[in-house]
């Protein structure tokens, strides 16, 4: 567990895709008219989303950009940062990239190596489908347990300048085996990791789930959220009532299990939950399913990792 004393969220910028706008995602700074965002390919559109976010957040004091996405070899991150002229560091922990990047930036700021940095992440439905699953236009039938990658980009500026949102502590999770081989059931893959790191955080901070107003998991989806709650109940005798899953909340009235993607959780955090008065103490559990097409084709069980951030919001 790491404690931070002088790390604050001072600004953020969000972009959502057309489907997300139709699904009722509110308060984003920008909505795309179409999936291509004026570019020729999906990957370039994703990079442009990231670049727009960075350009809206950067100032003279920005010393470091940390972030990542779901494209192969962080293609979008590489394209977005190549002309920004600020030192950058790409990270990949699937959908836990948000927390691993935020923790890294917080550590840099806390240790006074930098004064201000930007976290950036994005996911693009069509780029992710192409890479992880089938060609976009193939429309491969999806089972009910599967989630759909959201098109969105989020940037968060961290700084030592005090603001109303403070990053108080963080716990880095271990990569563990989910025992699951089915890449459609990402909720089940990640739920076991979420339970593991949550328990580690609660033990080391000597807190209980009731000490937080909101426990926000990343993209477990409806199926994964149920598995998460049931595992906590059966394994640790914890009945969790203040839990929300960003993936399950993202697309209301969605036939499948919900949304996934690196941007889902941080987008709902900054556009929705930090503005609601009842959530002052937020535990941010970023869950990542560390699968790749190679890993799945070779019949491995899928590794998972969850990192935890604890945020306090002054109302």
């Amino acid at each position: 567990m790491f404690s931070f004393k002088d790390v604050y969220i001072t600004d953020y910028f969000t972009i959502a895709g057309p489907f997300e706008r139709k699904s009722g995602i509110k308060n984003c700074n920008l909505y795309l008219e179409d999936d291509y965002y004026g570019e020729k390919t999906m990957e370039q559109a994703e990079a442009k989303m990231q670049k727009t976010v960075i350009n809206n957040l950067r100032d003279d004091k920005t010393e470091l950009i940390v972030g990542g996405d779901l494209t192969n070899q962080l293609t979008a991150f590489a394209l977005s940062t190549r002309s920004i002229n600020i030192p950058s560091m790409g990270m990949y922990s699937a959908c836990a990239t948000s927390a691993s990047s935020l923790i890294t930036l917080s550590a840099f700021i806390q240790s006074k190596l930098i004064k201000e940095g930007i976290f950036i992440t994005s996911s693009h439905n069509l780029a992710a489908e192409k890479q992880f699953r089938f060609p976009v236009e193939y429309g491969a039938p999806k089972p009910l347990r599967s989630t759909s990658t959201a098109t969105a980009a989020v940037g968060i500026k961290l700084s030592k300048t005090p603001s109303k949102i403070k990053i108080v502590s963080a716990t880095l999770g271990k990569t563990i085996d989910s025992y699951i081989k089915d890449a459609h059931n990402m909720g089940a893959v990640m739920a076991i990791g979420a339970v593991d790191t949550l328990m580690k955080h609660l033990t080391t901070t000597k807190t209980t789930v009731k000490d937080y107003n909101l426990i926000l998991t990343g993209d477990l989806g409806k199926v994964g959220a149920e598995i998460f709650k049931e595992t906590l109940k059966q394994e640790h005798n914890i009945n969790i009532k203040n839990h929300l899953d960003a993936g399950a909340e993202f697309y209301p009235n969605f036939e499948y299990a919900g949304a996934s993607g690196t941007a889902v959780q941080s987008l709902l955090l900054v556009t929705k939950y930090i503005h609601q008065k009842k959530y002052k103490k937020i535990l941010f559990l970023a869950t990542g399913s560390l699968h790749s097409p190679v890993l799945v084709n070779q019949k491995n069980t899928i590794p998972t990792v969850t990192h935890v951030l604890y945020l306090e919001v002054e109302k």
């Binding site: 020729k40 236009e137 193939y138 491969a140 999806k142 347990r145």
Partner: protein, 145 residues
């Protein structure tokens, strides 16, 4: 945590697919495709003076062309999601898999992108189709000789 205990929780809470509904829809769509194909074949045989063998080839070509155009017009994927194997198993599925791969990689270069990924999904169908055709041909020879 215990592997079997976790896998049991997952199994209990993972929603079951609507197999009956999915099969019925696929059966219906497959049947409709077959019905239309038969109708086109009869029209070709009766009105265009084609042999049954040539008419069948024309029907297949019409289906391949239509499936590819519908994929390019970006609504065939929604039909596939709904009717699943009713559209994937007939020749329409084969055409659709090739067109959708080609569309995905059209900007990644003619050789390394589209060319290399053209048969990304259909490659398996071709390979195992040819292998099974070989073995069925042997069986046919044994039976009829």
């Amino acid at each position: 945590m215990n592997k079997n205990k976790y896998l049991k929780i997952v199994k209990d809470l993972t929603p079951k697919e609507k197999r009956l509904e999915n099969s019925a829809l696929a059966f219906l769509m497959g049947g409709i495709l077959g019905f239309i194909a038969e109708a086109i074949k009869l029209i070709l045989v009766n009105n265009c003076h084609l042999t049954i063998r040539d008419a069948t080839t024309w029907v297949l070509m019409i289906y391949i062309l239509l499936a590819s155009i519908f994929t390019a017009l970006s609504f065939f994927d929604r039909l596939v999601m709904k009717y699943k194997c009713g559209l994937i198993i007939p020749i329409t599925g084969f055409a659709h898999s090739i067109t959708s791969s080609a569309l995905d990689y059209k900007r990644d270069g003619l050789i390394t992108g589209m060319g290399a990924s053209f048969f990304k999904l259909a490659g398996s169908i071709l390979l195992y189709g040819i292998i099974s055709a070989f073995f069925f041909a042997i069986i046919k020879v044994i039976i009829y000789v």
